[in-house]
């Protein structure tokens, strides 16, 4: 249902969230850190399609929100949207080319961050839109796009190991 053994997926996504809240804030490029959870969800959506991607987005988003000072559900909602938009192109992906994953990272980052900011706007009331888009979103587009091949390769390995044919969602 969630792509591979749930006993593996939940700790895996928890580990990704922990890494993003402990190790990655120290690794800033152009003033931003790579968004490992977003890239993980996007890569899995490309490899396994919308259904598995959505469940990973939901679990991963909740894990991320737990470690964040932002409103619970903000990352989850943003990841769900990014996962849907990316998972629809699943059929076109090949493991040898990184162009599609990088394109997905570009579009997914934009969608993810805009929805996240909208949730912050509705719940907390104040978002400096211009500064946020220029100083965070723009660098994040570059950083996430460049980091995507590494994450995609790791997830493609996991995809091969866990076996796509064993997985199904209500079929």
């Amino acid at each position: 249902m969630i792509g591979c053994n749930p006993y593996l997926v939940v700790p895996l996504l928890l580990l990704v969230a922990l890494l993003q809240s402990t190790a990655l804030p120290g690794l800033t490029i152009l003033g931003v850190s790579p968004e490992l959870m977003l890239l993980t969800v996007l890569a899995w959506s490309l490899l396994r399609g919308v259904e598995e991607g959505l469940l990973w987005a939901f679990l991963g988003g909740l894990a991320l929100d737990l470690f964040s000072g932002g409103p619970l559900g903000a990352s989850t909602l943003a990841l769900l949207a990014a996962s849907v938009s990316t998972g629809l192109t699943q059929g076109a992906v090949t493991r040898s080319s990184f162009l599609l994953p990088m394109g997905a990272a570009l579009a997914g980052t934009l969608l993810y961050q805009i929805i996240f900011l909208l949730v912050i706007q509705f719940t907390r009331g104040h978002v400096p839109w211009t500064d946020s888009l220029l100083r965070v979103t723009l660098p994040s587009l570059a950083v996430n796009t460049l980091a995507m091949p590494v994450v995609f390769r790791a997830l493609a390995w996991l995809d091969r190991k866990t076996g796509r044919e064993q997985i199904g969602w209500g079929r």
Partner: protein, 290 residues
């Protein structure tokens, strides 16, 4: 077709669940669940933070020239010490002058008698989102930490406790765009509102056009509004933006705290923040009567 239908159902279910979650969380119903989960996870987060700290040091050593770094650290420490001493001296002089004007100052303003009420907290995590600036520390209700308490390091103000659990607390940094502090400059006593900026710097807003502010001035918390004690160092003015057409002038403030390298913080537990909205509500109720 069936797959498409299932996908839509899943999407609708998950989005609805998330939206309900957001609403319940904003209403405060999910805090106990969130607190319970984080209580279990925070030791894991602390362990990972230790590993990251250790391995991060190794990576830096490989990347930097050791001697230069050591020298830089020495200079930074010297600079920090001098800055603290300088600020303390200037504050003492300012306090002395004020004491001459106000006879019973000592009784009315206990000043810096806050040190006794501090709690140490280790930084075990940062906000995973690039838009938000929060820290997670390993001190919580068990250590006497409460929501709203100011968080400092010897170099200056870090932020204030936004949410608190049994053994953890989340601290909203002063550099977060949603943070706002009443402030004043140390020498000219010009007041304004210091707000966080996405760039990581601070902006001191609402400075009257008649006031004179200049680069290099130290900015302190003014204590107005009741959220922070008076006299905590916030930063130093690095640029003044003044246009005759504007109602106010503003200044860019560089924080004295290096937020990227924070490892330990102090929580001032002797300070009780005042919730002005709550106080105003109480006053309104009292005025209206039964």
């Amino acid at each position: 077709m069936g797959g498409f239908s299932n996908r839509n159902l899943l999407l609708i279910f998950l989005v609805l669940a998330t939206l309900i979650g957001i609403l319940l969380n904003e209403a405060g119903y999910l805090e106990p669940i969130e607190g319970a989960i984080l209580r279990l996870l925070s030791p894991l987060q602390a362990r990972l933070a230790t590993i990251v700290e250790t391995s991060g040091g190794l990576f830096r050593a490989a990347r930097d020239l050791r001697d230069l770094r050591q020298r830089n650290e020495e200079l930074e420490a010297d600079y920090a010490q001098l800055l603290i001493e300088n600020v303390a001296l200037k504050e003492a002089a300012q306090e002395n002058a004020t004491l001459r004007q106000f006879f019973q100052f000592a009784q009315q303003h206990p000043g810096f008698q806050l040190v006794g009420g501090e709690v140490k907290g280790r930084v075990i995590g940062r906000d995973p989102n690039n838009f938000l600036r929060y820290l997670t520390i390993d001190a919580g209700e068990a250590q006497g930490v409460q929501k709203g308490m100011p968080v400092i390091v010897p170099r200056g103000l870090v932020g204030r406790v936004q949410s608190v659990g049994p053994n953890w607390a989340q601290v909203l940094l002063i550099t977060d765009p949603r943070s706002s502090i009443s402030a004043l400059t140390q020498t000219s006593r010009v007041t304004g509102q210091v707000q966080g900026h996405v760039s990581g710097d601070l902006v001191m807003k609402y400075i009257s056009q008649e006031e004179s502010v200049s680069e290099g001035q130290i900015v302190l918390s003014s204590g107005l509004g009741g959220n922070f004690p008076k006299g905590l160092v916030i930063g130093q003015i690095i640029a003044v933006q003044q246009r005759d057409s504007d109602l106010f002038q503003q200044a860019v403030v560089r924080p004295t705290v290096d937020f990227d390298r924070l490892e330990m913080v102090l929580v001032i537990s002797a300070f009780k923040p005042v919730d002005l909205a709550e106080e105003s509500e109480k006053a309104d109720q009292e005025t209206q009567g039964p």
